[in-house]
């Protein structure tokens, strides 16, 4: 658990960080909260000759709520997300999900940007961001662009982000209606055996709009358009939930690990998705 030696960079602005990235290319990585990258370096599974610590880049921190638009700086910690009453009022699903990430010590360091940018299928925020239809802002030498969370993830640890870009902000519209982030894990600090984010808007007795996305049930987060479609227009009764669960299960592809074999994960995923939908509906 001793990493190879590396150069440590600590820029104070995004331009400074981009300059180091441009200079060293593949040999440089940005460091956010460090809960994924540092262990990989200690295990010598990641070789990072130039480590760019972003913690002094003030422009990457903070939560901005303007009307129904929410923008969160990439270096905002999970703890800061949980502690923000304004964010909780605007998007309560964030606190509900963030409280299910690891433990307080990890959440004091772990950031939303690191969580979404690393591309680890076990991370909770990517699925949640897909559920919220969030957009990620990426800055590089050629300027700034935004990418939808729903099209950002390509494969495990592979994303649309270019090696020389930095994910700087995350923005999404404040969700309306009911919400739930349901997660089964073996213990505190574990990744999900299965997790599901659900948002449901109600119109009278019917579902007006829905969004369902899942965590750690494929090599990327999974947004299930078909699951949402099965709910919209229904009374969110048992038959509709069953149809939505069936549709969502069609979209996932879990793999066997120490949490259990595929058969178990598919079954638990169905239970977790159904609970998320029912809880979101109960709050809609």
């Amino acid at each position: 658990m001793i990493p190879p030696s590396f150069e440590y960079h600590r820029p104070t602005d995004v331009a400074g960080a981009l300059a180091v990235l441009a200079e060293h290319g593949d040999d440089a990585r940005v460091l956010a909260g460090g809960h994924s990258l540092i262990p990989m370096m200690k295990l010598r599974m990641a070789d990072v000759p130039h480590l760019i610590d972003l913690q002094d880049v003030a422009a990457l921190k903070g939560i901005d709520i303007s009307g129904d638009q929410i923008t969160i700086g990439a270096m905002t910690t999970q703890h800061e997300l949980i502690a923000s009453d304004a964010l909780h009022a605007a998007a309560p699903i964030i606190r509900e999900a963030a409280l299910q990430i690891a433990d307080p010590q990890v959440r004091y360091m772990g950031t939303i940007g690191g969580n979404v940018a690393n591309g680890d299928p076990g991370n909770d925020m990517p699925g949640l961001m897909q559920c919220l239809d969030a957009r990620f802002t990426l800055e590089g030498a050629d300027g700034t662009r935004t990418v939808a969370a729903r099209s950002f993830y390509e494969a495990a640890y592979m994303t649309d982000r270019d090696d020389e870009e930095i994910l700087t902000h995350i923005s999404f519209a404040a969700p309306r209606g009911g919400y739930a982030y349901e997660k089964q894990k073996r213990k505190i600090g574990d990744y999900a055996t299965a997790a599901c984010a659900a948002l449901i808007e109600r119109d009278g007795d019917k579902v007006a709009a829905a969004s369902v996305a899942m965590t750690n049930l494929s090599d990327i987060p999974v947004f299930s358009e078909a699951a949402a479609a099965a709910l919209v227009g229904s009374a969110c009764d048992d038959a509709a939930v069953k149809a939505a669960v069936g549709a969502a299960l069609e979209d996932i592809d879990p793999t066997e690990d120490n949490r259990g074999p595929v058969e178990f994960k598919m079954h638990v995923a169905g239970i977790i998705i159904s609970r998320a939908i029912q809880r979101a509906w109960s709050r809609a």
Binding site: M1, I2, F264, H267, V268
Partner: protein
């Protein structure tokens, strides 16, 4: 005396002696980060060691090229088996009479095995150099299943090939280590074959690991000028380490000083001798400067001593009324690549022959076959006396299975079969003499405390509701009644490598009436500095706050066998009381002289000696201590010191009654422990608060083992659970609220009646948690399912019983 003289109760309270919930004196430094652990120790010029380890579970080592590593600036040496061979240190003896490679000698036998030892100027360079050592391997067939190993033509231990005799008798196969048999097999089989009712079950007690917070490490410092070797390390038995180091190195024992500093938990993991210790010593001897080696978490989990890994096959017979008539147990014990179990020499399966449990079973048999596989060596007693967790799990599961066979309530079945109070001292069918117990009283108290009848009624209602489709949650009631066997042990039958398992205490009273006591044991968090001072306070009348307890430095402490198997209080605690009584005997003579009466005319009273019948005439222990050093007393040597080496006449047998109430989500396998009640009887209670802490800790480790903690291997011998992501270490979040309770049945042979308690909650807790899971599914036809009861295995049980069919 006058009105200001404290009354007797106040004087007793001032001592903070036996029965006082005195706060732990160690905690001031531990809670402030001021502990002194092995990695806190730094010596001038110190070098750092790190291991090249095998990625393969079984492979021939074709070549090792250290050139690139040696070329790295700051690398001092790279040791391989070839370098150790001239010193005959490429192999070392194990505590179980086997031998173990220190560094790979031609082949590797488990993943993570030590192949080469790099010594460098700092820890970072050492790690870089490890990557530069080139090792060429040729993979060999891997055996991770002991039953396969006993059939396979693959020879794991080529060094033993052709040897038909091992340390514990004949070997049946080249991968077989020993057969150990206790009891009357023919007689037991005859009883079982003729019995009204017989229950059979095979159960696997999975491999796990003690996983102390602090991993293992040491710092060796060879002073070539004075010829003295100092060895600091995470040793649960520092004196034994000194003797073994002397025997291995040829350095005379008086020239070796072993120091165990603060130790961050042991749980059996720090009893053994590891290659890192040997390599550090050799490296320090070679380089002439101190060499430190501290392993990381993955190395600790993957390579240091594991626990359990027992395949247990049982048959138990009873009358139709439920009276047990016989018990047969056979164990296939997976010992990994080397037999490095830490057991008393004559007990290759530890005290597994306590497997008749708390029950009056007239005839029994135990057979154990030890087997080599391509897994890490070890087989230590993880928070239990030697293999007692396995024994208690076995009998507490067999009782449950028998209850199913008899269609009887498992609590009632236990009650019918408990050894009765009047039967103690009780001779068990497998050779132990239980010193004392009152099981029925404890059991009745426990069942009443949890309203057992009410729980069973609620459970029956839940089952009906489940069948009606109104709930998807089942309720399990876990029962366990355990008898521990601790305090190893009587020298007549307990030794480790020939060293008798006595223990010791040496006391010096200072002239001003305070004291220091040194013991042969070593605390790893048990709170010895707190509790041994309390024993002494009550014995010699000096306040516990005025007594320093010191352990772990072999230059100053008396020889002892160390701390494991809940032996410190039964053995060293007894030595402390006995040494205290020697102090008191001398103090009595001094007091009599000072009071100008005959020795027999004074008596001890809390903190003083008083003239019989005239309590206003007295001398306090402080006055006596001062006189001992500063007054010429005819016929009495100056000073006030004593030493006692205590060879216990018997083990002690703590016991307890536990109940767990658990709700289980049938669809996800998620469990919720609603209630856990633990009644412990450890005899005389020295410090109730420390006992409660011990019970909380032991139950939490029991929760871990029962509900998810395991060292799992794939077919290639790769460790699948080598990090704390996958190896379950419970946090406050997963731990339920524990209700503790007690009865007190003092040990009749221990000087203060104490029995040892640190491991009881682990021994009793594992079957209790497991039985709760199994009990939840009993109404649906489950007989037995193996631990650990993690979500997917519970789900699989429910699935197998058809509970997911809609």
């Amino acid at each position: 005396m006058n009105d200001l003289t404290p009354d007797r109760d106040e004087r007793v309270a001032n001592l903070k002696g036996l029965g006082c919930s005195r706060k732990r004196v160690e905690d001031a430094r531990f809670t402030q980060g001021k502990g002194n652990y092995i990695d806190d120790i730094s010596l001038p010029g110190m070098l750092h060691g790190d291991f090249v380890r095998s990625p393969y579970a079984h492979a021939r080592v074709k070549s090792i090229n250290t050139d690139a590593a040696m070329a790295l600036d700051g690398v001092i040496a790279v040791l391989t088996a070839k370098d150790l061979e001239p010193l005959s240190l490429h192999w070392m003896p194990t505590l179980a009479g086997d031998k173990q490679m220190v560094l790979a000698d031609g082949k590797v036998l488990f993943q993570g095995q030590e192949v080469a030892f790099v010594v460098a100027r700092d820890r970072y360079i050492a790690a870089d150099a490890v990557d530069l050592v080139e090792v060429e391997y040729e993979e060999l067939p891997v055996l991770v299943d002991p039953f396969e190993a006993l059939k396979s033509e693959v020879v794991l231990r080529e060094d033993l090939d052709g040897q038909t005799e091992g340390a514990h008798g004949p070997r049946k196969h080249h991968n077989h280590i020993f057969t150990w048999e206790v009891g009357d097999e023919a007689g037991t089989n005859a009883v079982i074959d003729d019995a009204d009712v017989v229950a059979e079950e095979t159960m696997y007690y999975h491999r796990t690991h003690p996983c102390p917070l602090e991993p293992c490490g040491c710092l060796a410092s060879m002073d070539k000028v004075n010829g003295k070797l100092t060895l600091y390390g995470t040793f649960q038995a520092p004196h034994v380490v000194r003797t073994v180091a002397s025997l291995l190195s040829g350095i005379e024992e008086h020239n070796i000083r072993v120091v165990s500093p603060d130790i961050g938990g042991g749980f059996g993991n720090k009893v053994g001798v590891y290659p890192g210790y040997v390599c550090s010593i050799v490296a320090s001897i070679v380089t002439g400067v101190p060499v430190k080696w501290v392993e990381d978490r993955m190395e600790n989990l993957m390579t240091t001593a594991f626990a359990r890994d027992y395949w247990m096959k049982g048959r138990i017979s009873a009358t139709r009324e439920g009276k047990i008539t016989g018990l047969h147990c056979h164990v296939t014990a997976d010992h990994g690549a080397f037999d490095a179990c830490a057991d008393p020499t004559k007990f290759p399966a530890g005290f597994m022959n306590i497997c008749t449990g708390s029950y009056d079973i007239p005839i029994a048999y135990l057979g154990v076959d030890g087997v080599y596989t391509n897994k890490a060596p070890g087989g230590v007693s993880y928070r239990c006396s030697f293999r007692v967790t396995e024994a208690v799990y076995f009998i507490e599961r067999m009782i449950e299975v028998l209850a199913i066979e008899l269609n009887m309530d498992a609590a009632e079945l236990r009650r019918i079969n408990f050894i009765r109070k009047e039967q103690f001292p009780y001779q068990s069918a497998l050779g132990w003499e239980y010193d004392s117990g009152d099981y029925h009283t404890a059991w009745d108290k426990a069942l009443a405390a949890v309203d057992y009848e009410g729980l069973r009624k609620e459970q029956a209602e839940r089952v009906e509701a489940f069948k009606r489709g109104e709930t998807r949650t089942l309720m399990g009631i876990g029962l366990s009644f355990f008898t521990e066997i601790v305090g190893a042990g009587p020298v007549k039958n307990c030794d480790i490598l020939g060293m008798g398992m006595f223990d010791s205490c040496e006391i010096r009273i200072h002239p001003t009436g305070s004291a220091i006591a040194r013991l042969g044991t070593i605390s790893q968090g048990q709170g010895h500095a707190t509790t041994f001072a309390q024993i002494l306070a009550s014995e010699i009348g000096i306040p516990a706050d005025s007594i320093t307890i010191e352990e772990g430095d072999t230059d100053t402490a008396p020889y002892g066998l160390g701390t494991y198997g809940s032996r410190s209080t039964p053995v060293a605690g007894a030595a402390t009381a006995m040494a205290g009584r020697k102090i008191r005997a001398k103090a009595q003579m001094i007091a009599a002289y000072l009071l100008e009466v005959h020795d027999d005319d004074v008596e001890f009273d809390v903190d003083r000696f008083v003239v019989k019948g005239a309590p206003e005439r007295f001398k306090t222990m402080g006055e006596i201590a001062y006189a001992a050093y500063n007054q010429a007393i005819p016929g009495v040597e100056p000073g006030l010191e004593a030493v006692s080496y205590y060879d216990p006449p018997n083990m002690t047998y703590p016991f307890g009654a536990y109940v767990c109430v658990m709700d289980i989500d049938v669809d996800t396998g998620v469990t919720d422990i609603r209630r856990f009640y633990a009644l412990d009887d450890c005899g005389t209670r020295i410090n109730p608060m420390v006992i409660e802490g011990q019970i909380h800790g032991g139950l939490t480790e029991a929760l871990a083992v029962a509900m998810g903690q395991e060292i799992a291997y794939d077919d290639m011998g790769n460790v699948k659970t080598g990090t704390l992501m996958d190896f379950f270490l419970p946090t406050a979040w997963e731990v339920p609220n524990y209700e503790t309770d007690h009865t007190v049945t003092p040990s009749p042979h221990h000087p203060i009646g104490a029995k040892g308690v640190g491991e009881s909650p682990h021994v009793g807790g594992v079957p209790c948690f497991s039985n709760a899971v199994q009990d939840a599914f009993r109404p649906f036809g489950l007989r037995h399912t193996n631990m650990p009861h993690d979500h997917w295995r519970i789900w699989k049980t429910a699935n197998g019983l058809g509970l997911h069919d809609t």
